[in-house]
Subunit: 173 residues, 2 copies
């Protein structure tokens, strides 16, 4: 599609929050979950870029000559943080991986995820974990091609959540 496509991957900074929020919304729309997005640009700025950040980000950028018709050069991102497994210790969790549709097939998603893997290994992690929607076959194929496996299917791990009134009620002593 772009035979001369060049892109760069770098750590996100606070000036990227506007584009991160735009792409979080694009990803949520693709996932048919846009109504679940409650987060704001200000949340991202505070939670990711103050003294004790709650997450880390990576931004994929293309040169000006490949910018979108809306003028965007920030065309992909990954959002990740460190977690802990009581079986195997330090782990890295990739909350989001996204590349704008017109820039797919150029290795940008793999480059973003590779960087998360590098950073995780450097930080002493033994696992990279993430979730996927089971109908998202193209993403499943992509992740399987990288050697990832589905621990819901193979081992029976299901994701559970408590939120809203149930969480408030549970928290009553």
């Amino acid at each position: 599609m772009f035979p001369d496509m060049k892109f760069s991957i770098r750590a996100a900074n606070v000036e990227d929050c506007k584009d991160m929020l735009r792409m979080i919304m694009e990803l949520a729309e693709y996932e048919k979950l846009a109504e679940h997005v409650k987060i704001t640009q200000s949340d991202l700025e505070q939670d990711g870029f103050s003294k004790n950040p709650l997450f880390h980000g990576l931004i994929a950028e293309v040169p000006e000559r490949h910018k979108t018709k809306e003028g965007q050069t920030k065309i992909g991102y990954a959002l990740y943080f460190y977690t802990y497994s009581s079986f195997s210790g330090r782990a890295v969790y990739m909350e989001d991986l996204y590349v704008m549709p017109e820039f797919r097939g150029e290795g940008i998603g793999k480059a973003l995820m590779s960087k998360v893997a590098q950073l995780g290994l450097t930080a002493g992690c033994n696992e990279l974990n993430f979730t996927i929607l089971n109908w998202n076959k193209s993403s499943l194929d992509f992740y399987h091609s990288l050697g990832c496996y589905d621990i819901t299917t193979t081992m029976g791990y299901h994701c559970m959540r408590c939120e809203g009134e149930a969480l408030e009620h549970l928290a009553q002593p």
Copy 2:
């Protein structure tokens, strides 16, 4: 079973790591996953109780008169940490919740989880997340009774993992 059962819930400290490891192993054996436990007491001491802890723990204790025949008074634990949702912001993740079999049915598990919920809400979290093995019907019933729901079943979220050689390979630039 113990009509006068009293128990206390408190934050774990570094002296609890031996008992935490014992109970992690008991939980893994119950889950038929004991061969996956690679963690050591020293890992727990360093990762949970140095300057920037990677996890937090809660310990459930019973009085001496209820100690086990092996002399244990630390009879349950929860292990949790904070994560981040790009949809809804701060979240708390409960990695483990465990009560020794002979002390179940006394409200100890619920008290541990309630404390995780309280701490999460105080820290500004909107969600408490965890995973469960789909064959563990008694735990599923317990969590459902607390208003938790299965986002694998309702929304299709599957847990994915990259580890070992696949992770090393992915990390190559």
